[in-house]
């Protein structure tokens, strides 16, 4: 069964501090992993995907198949990073459906 676990419901850091949002998954195959973000009063939008291997807004995420993890990291958090973050998984081989984690609410304090 496909499952995405985000162990932290809430995460609070100070501006300029490093931040790591944890995501673990279970999938019997090679999935594609995503991070979606929802800023206050805005729609859910893609932040990054593991296949792209890019940094968006200073965030990076590396897929660790051994640990089945896809943690989201940023070395210096900004106040505008405060948002709800969802990790999501899509099965390879044609399926475009997403399975979401429950989300982590990140608050960056001044």
């Amino acid at each position: 069964a496909q499952r995405v676990t985000q162990p932290e419901k809430l995460l609070s850091v100070f501006k300029g501090a490093p931040v790591e949002l944890k995501c673990n998954y279970s999938y019997s195959g090679s999935p594609e992993l995503f991070w979606y973000v929802q800023y206050s009063r805005q729609r859910l939008q893609l932040l990054l995907r593991h296949i792209s291997r890019e940094s968006i807004k200073g965030f990076t995420a590396d897929l660790n198949k051994g640990e089945t993890s896809f943690h989201l990291k940023k070395p210096f958090a900004q106040e505008e990073d405060s948002a709800m973050y969802y990790c999501a998984l899509s099965g390879m081989g044609g399926s475009e459906k997403l399975v979401f984690g429950k989300g982590t609410k990140l608050t960056v304090n001044p």
Partner: protein, 110 residues
């Protein structure tokens, strides 16, 4: 430029009174999705269309139906809403594996 539009943004209905939620897209994507998101929970896929092909999730209640009359529009019909159907309903489209979300319709069943 709104790419995925949902109407209405807020809907209040009475227990048992049918309700229809609307989604339209300007992206010309062939896949459209409906998700249900209850408070503090992950978005949960109800069903999706690949062009005109309807794909229902196994655990989606029969009370939930959908129509896609053309590429641009997709409707979610709740035939007899129960109190437990109070939630945010998200529409999304995709071409490839990135999903583009609408702002959601917040449904309250009284």
């Amino acid at each position: 430029d709104a790419m995925v539009i949902q109407n209405p943004r807020y809907q209040v209905t009475q227990f048992g009174k049918p309700v229809t939620l609307s989604c339209s897209q300007t992206l010309n994507h062939n896949v459209m999705y409906w998700y249900q998101q209850k408070s503090s929970q992950a978005p949960k896929l109800l069903f999706h269309y690949y062009d005109k092909d309807f794909n229902n999730e196994a655990d989606t209640p029969d009370n939930f139906q959908s129509r896609r009359p053309n590429t641009s529009f997709c409707f979610l019909d709740i035939r007899s809403p129960g109190l437990g159907d109070t939630a945010m309903y998200l529409c999304a489209t995709s071409s490839g594996r990135t999903q583009y979300f609408g702002p959601g319709t917040r449904l309250l069943v009284l």
